[in-house]
């Protein structure tokens, strides 16, 4: 236990470390996001992430949102296990044809009003995989999309800005 406490003390609070290049931008985006969520989503946004055909690169960066640098939860955003608990579906990948029906079902299970974010070049346009016998291409070819976050993969800060754009846009 002592070893753990010592290491925690040594590490300190990373989220408040002196801002490096990205960190100032991160704080600004985060605070704005928090405000938008307070005003329009009663302080919390529940996201269900669906990998509909990704190469898993996008997932790695979505995971990074939870690391101590970004700590997405402090802005009121959290990932939920069921689409039934979600405000937003965050979809990655071109939609593989083998995932087409599963994605539609997840979308139908999400209660209205719901929003869909297409994260990553593949989700936005089909990306490098495009449309083929095995791929439906862009997410919007399968379910309606409200917001696109390009990038291959989008960096955590770009994902955060995308969430902000979505939250800020809601009336």
């Amino acid at each position: 236990m002592l070893r753990i406490l010592r290491q925690i003390a040594r590490t300190g609070t990373l989220t408040e470390a002196p801002p490096a290049t990205d960190d100032a931008a991160l704080e600004a985006a985060g605070i704005e996001l928090r405000r938008a969520l307070e005003a329009r989503f009663r302080g919390s946004l529940a996201i269900r992430q669906v990998d509909a055909g990704s190469c898993n690169g996008c997932e790695l960066e979505i995971h990074a949102l939870a690391n101590p640098y970004y700590d997405l939860e402090r802005f009121g955003v959290h990932f939920v296990a069921s689409p039934r608990h979600a405000d937003v579906l965050l979809v990655t990948g071109p939609v593989s044809r083998h995932m087409e029906t599963a994605l539609r079902r997840a979308w139908r299970a999400t209660p209205a009003p719901k929003r869909v974010i297409a994260a990553g070049d593949c989700a936005c346009t089909g990306g490098i995989f495009g449309e083929s016998y095995a791929s439906c291409g862009a997410v919007e070819n399968v379910i309606p999309v409200d917001l696109r976050i390009p990038g291959c993969p989008p960096a955590p800060l770009e994902l955060l800005r995308g969430l902000l754009a979505l939250a800020g846009r809601e009336a």
């Binding site: 990704s54 044809r97 083998h98 083929s132």
Partner: protein, 529 residues
Amino acid sequence: MSRLDWLSGYLTRLAEKGAAPRLEPVQTLGPRVRRVTLLPADWGTAAEVAAALGWRWAGVWGDPLADACVVRACLQAREGFVVLETETALEDASLASHTRYYHGANRLERHLRDLIGVRFRGHPQDHRWTRHQAWGEDEHPLRTDFPVAGRAPKRAPADTGYPFVRIQGGAVYEIPVGPIHAGIIEPGHFRFQAVGEEILRLEERLGYLHKGIEKIAVGREPADLARLAGRVSGDTTVGHAWAACQAMERAAHGTVPPRALHLRALLAERERIANHLGDIGAICNDVGFSFPHMQCSHLREQWQRRNREVFGHRLLMDTVTPGGVARDLPADAMTTLRGDHRALREALAPVFDVVEDHPSLDDRLLSAGILNPTDARMLGCTGFVGKASGQDLDLRRDHPYPPYDRLDVEVPALDQGDIAARVQIRMREVYISLDLMDRLLDTLPAGEVSAALPEPPAGADGLGLVEGWRGDILCYVRFGADGRIARYFPRDPSWFQWPALERLIHGNIVPDFPVCNKSVNGSYSGHDL
């Protein structure tokens, strides 16, 4: 035994069994890779003899031509590799299955059958694997007459009717999970049969991420193939891009400047460390111990930021290109990177110290999810999964490709095969990679970082063999006309690690499945292609 003996021993035994193997006189696929052409009737014997010699089976893939199919399988001996090759007509094509000698062949043979239509006689599980409902049973997307766009524009229905094995008995119940899982993970379906908490059987149903990579690779330029290869499995972008470039370079007889080779290795070791850090933390988190997770994920984030700064991409995508690497190190990078290596060693010591020896981790990770060495060998597991279960294999040491031929690569090996062992191997590998990277920087040659790839003649082919962070990556490339790709097949190590998960989960409890799965961490995308 000399280089030649190992091969002639194999060929003699084949001949004794009545087979008529033909050895290609020169090595065209790559150094230490010999091509042996067989009659279709001798296909099964070739595996039987190799198994008797204790060789490893490293993959099978088809290469469909207009009305025939060339089928190739790769065998790995201590001294080198053999690529078996046979040609069969497409109509009613069938070969003897290798699965009875090598369990790891099971799904690759079914994948080949689904995509090209060559059947494997005597296969113990002769039903579809990669195919769900997006194309019909008698259609084969990789055949040359099958359009890239497919033939069925209608919505693909959910997969049904897959013949899962059911266990009968009053107290047995079944738990279906997925394809969409309750987390930020790739999709796949798991079917558990359990009694109480205990798992009697797990059956995987994968293929959900099949996005036609092998088909859309056809007709690409080399640079374009490298980009695609870097997206076979995003977490292994360097590994797959390197394997594809190595295969293309071997086929085209291209040379890569020594400085570029060093930088590739630097990138590959950075990728290994990033993934190990992420997964070691996540494994601890899966048993409710968040301290290492927070520590490792912040170190990983720093690492990724440095990737972006020095190499241009947080995950290192598109850094390996045919003939070299995309860019040279910035002027001050040497000092920065050396400093990073030192800092990471220091930061990890207290964290790994806790992971190594903490009662709450011992309790959950020791003797959980045991993969016994026999299963690991039958399946052909490599990487940390194999190394933790007695498979002392690593291409960087055993069949070193430059620049590893000039570096001594230490390979850790254990044989208890549990989650704790897999974690230990990965912690050790982080330190080994850090040392390797220091040595790579110390000996970094001057010069160019890229050379033009000569245009290969139509039909030239090559085999790439690279040790990715998950294990050995095999990659076959054949060129067609105009220097464009006619066939690309990357075999991710996940093909052998997914079936290992089915075995090591046996007898564990359902709540331990996530941590068992994470400790193996197969790639869904790299497997489904």
